[in-house]
């Protein structure tokens, strides 16, 4: 296996994954959404090809000659909560890439899903790859379509012989978060603007560990299997305390009552509907922030040698990158 075709190479995960693949001696062909000029891929020895995920023919063409395909690209927005675009990109886009993988008879097709496709359990009894889906209640097409795409991939494995593996990252933290996605929390912490925490929690993972898990899956992953790529399960209180300490700021002082957080989310959603602008906080996001989304990475640790980098290291990596790239100015 020599040549890896990667979709979505310029996001938080993609940017770290591409670097790791290069370190391991793979050739990387990176499929970039037309019109984008990703800064996070500058100076890397990779082949770039501009191609729209929704253009099935072009995807087929672009991925020709690949020994393996890693499909990272997705629309990850949570506003608006519903929309045709999520299904198009996340479900149809995944089908396009999976069909190309089948046609080119690649050795492995890795679909990067989301841990939210499983039930989330508690800290003591965290969700696994077998926990039934619970997130439909949030009414977010992002989560629903990521799960649908995973089901589609698994169906193609069973019916068409697609050499598919699913990986399900949890909440990723690390460098090259240009958007920023999870990093918005670290930027806020570094600026000292996190006054409170919410009642929920989640699984926190170093994005570099996720990249390692995926790269390992190329050789160690079993076809037809799914792996949660996660790290530590922590309440927001504990995680934010550690994040703030890492960036040298005082920990948030109090827990915002859930009813207040959810209410702020409702207000945000209504504001969004009335103005057409994305609110700072929407109702589904507020609800999610009040719930505990805990997952167990045990299977991936055992079967994919998934590393378990401490949260502080991941936060520090992200913090340094944000500092170097003027996000904290």
């Amino acid at each position: 296996m020599k040549k890896i075709f990667v979709t979505g190479p310029d996001g938080l995960l993609g940017s770290n994954l591409v670097r790791l693949l290069l370190d391991r001696g793979y050739e990387v062909k990176a499929m970039i959404q037309p019109g984008r000029d990703p800064k996070t891929l500058e100076g890397l020895n990779i082949e770039k090809i501009a191609c729209d995920l929704l253009d099935a023919e072009k995807v087929m063409e672009a991925s020709e000659g690949a020994d393996a395909i890693i499909h990272v690209a997705a629309i990850t927005s949570v506003w608006p909560s519903r929309g045709e675009i999520y299904h198009k990109v996340n479900v149809e886009g995944t089908r396009n890439v999976a069909k190309a993988a089948l046609a080119h008879k690649v050795e492995k097709f890795i679909y990067v899903g989301s841990a939210s496709s499983y039930g989330f359990g508690s800290i003591e009894n965290a969700g696994t790859e077998n926990s039934p889906y619970q997130s439909a209640k949030y009414g977010l097409d992002y989560i629903d379509t990521k799960r649908q795409a995973q089901l589609d991939v698994m169906e193609m494995v069973a019916k068409d012989g697609l050499p598919g593996i699913v990986v399900n990252p949890t909440f990723m933290i690390g460098p090259y978060d240009s958007k920023p996605s999870s990093g918005a929390m670290i930027v806020a912490a570094a600026k000292g603007s996190i006054p409170s925490y919410t009642s929920g929690g989640k699984n926190w993972v170093a994005v570099k560990d996720v990249a390692t898990g995926i790269a390992n899956a190329l050789t160690m992953g079993k076809i037809g299997e799914a792996y949660i790529l996660g790290g530590e399960n922590l309440s927001y209180k504990d995680a934010l305390t550690r994040i703030c300490k890492t960036v040298g700021k005082p920990a948030p002082g109090f827990q915002a009552p859930s009813f207040l957080v959810k209410f702020a989310g409702r207000m945000g959603s209504l504001f969004g509907s009335l103005t057409g602008k994305a609110p700072k906080l929407s109702y589904p996001m507020a609800w999610i922030a009040c719930d505990g989304h805990y997952f167990s990475p045990e299977k991936a640790i055992k079967e994919l040698n998934l590393p378990q980098t401490p949260l502080e290291t991941a936060v520090n990596d992200a913090y340094n990158w944000f500092k170097e790239n003027a996000y904290l100015d």
Binding site: P195, S196, G253, F254, A256, P257, F259, L260, K262, F263, A264, R266, M267, S269, L270, S273, L274, Y283
Partner: protein, 327 residues
């Protein structure tokens, strides 16, 4: 975090419900209380751990440790008590109705404008989670254009000419006490003045309305059928019919659930959280406005209070109902 320090003027039943909710807001601190009855103030202060106890409203209005005063006395006193606070330069949240007639409303707003203070009528129903969501459904166009609204508010008020419900001296009557809920709902949903109004009221021995109905017709042909009564419990339900679907909201003024039915499509029964009695949701907005230096909120602006009071004045005028101070 900058805390907003509240003063409570008139620590009766409604003030207790409001304060129950206020205690749940990390940003709010109940700093002071004043009552015409010292024992009542003391017991309130004990229950809600209020440090500053005042034996007069003037003293509360001049308490430098208070940022905003919640006026929770009976309707007939709203003008007098709001003016005491406003003239001392205090921001105010006044229980609904803001006053008993438009003339009083104008005087309160005039004073608030002159003193540059925040003022809002405590139309709390607009701010509770259920209505925030229902407004989103409507804004998202789920039920299309609203064609019909039915909303009633009735409970059994035992006949007692001295009770505030029936006593004209205390600004009694169903309209000001509870009719304001369905009327304010119509103003919130249609956001315009009706083009035609029909009304009917039964005035009791004391001369105030023990029940009344209000029919509003709008330019686009939409109709609102609204009522209030002290004769007994009604469904207290709001029914909103739109061109594409409908929403039914049981116990609409403190709603915790709603039924959405889209014609030929989705049916949804949604439940909504309501922490405490729900009177504190408006306070979240009030405190946000205060911190932003605003004098009113977008959701219950002065103009809205003014429009609704003008409408209630004209309804009473058409029944020939006057309060003693309106002779």
């Amino acid at each position: 975090m900058q805390k907003i320090r509240w003063g409570i003027l008139g620590p009766g039943n409604i003030a207790r419900k409001f304060s129950d909710g206020l205690q749940l807001l990390p940003q709010a601190k109940i700093q002071a209380v004043a009552s015409s009855n010292p024992a009542r103030a003391a017991s309130f202060a004990q229950d809600f751990k209020v440090p500053n106890i005042h034996d007069s409203y003037e003293s509360l209005a001049n308490d430098p440790e208070v940022d905003i005063i919640y006026v929770a006395t009976t309707h007939n006193f709203h003008e007098e008590h709001a003016l005491i606070c406003i003239n001392a330069g205090k921001n105010v949240l006044v229980e609904k109705p803001l006053a008993t007639n438009l003339m009083q409303v104008d005087r309160i707003m005039g004073a608030a404008k002159e003193k540059g203070v925040f003022l809002m009528e405590a139309m709390w129903t607009r701010f509770i989670p259920a209505w925030v969501e229902i407004r989103k459904w409507i804004a998202d166009g789920l039920i299309g254009e609203i064609k019909y609204l039915r909303a009633d508010f009735g409970f059994f008020g035992k006949w007692d000419p001295l009770n505030r419900k029936y006593n004209p001296e205390l600004a009694g009557g169903a309209l000001l006490d509870i009719g304001i809920y369905p009327i304010a709902l119509a103003y919130m949903l249609f956001r315009e003045e009706p083009s035609r109004v029909e009304t009917m009221a039964r005035l009791c021995e004391t001369g105030v309305d023990e029940q009344s109905i209000y029919l509003f017709e709008y330019e686009n042909g939409a109709i609102a059928e609204l009522s209030s009564t002290f004769s007994g419990e009604t469904g207290r339900e709001a029914l909103i019919l739109g061109t594409k679907g409908q929403i039914r909201i049981p116990m609409f003024w403190k709603a915790q659930e709603a039924y959405l039915d889209i014609h030929g499509g989705e049916s949804r029964h949604s439940k909504f959280e309501l922490a405490s009695f729900g009177l504190q949701y408006q306070a979240i907005y009030v405190m946000e406005a205060l911190l932003a230096g605003k004098k009113e909120t977008e959701w219950m602006p002065w103009s809205e209070t003014h429009r609704i009071m003008k409408r209630m004045d004209s309804l009473r005028a058409s029944w020939g109902m006057k309060y003693p101070w309106e002779a």
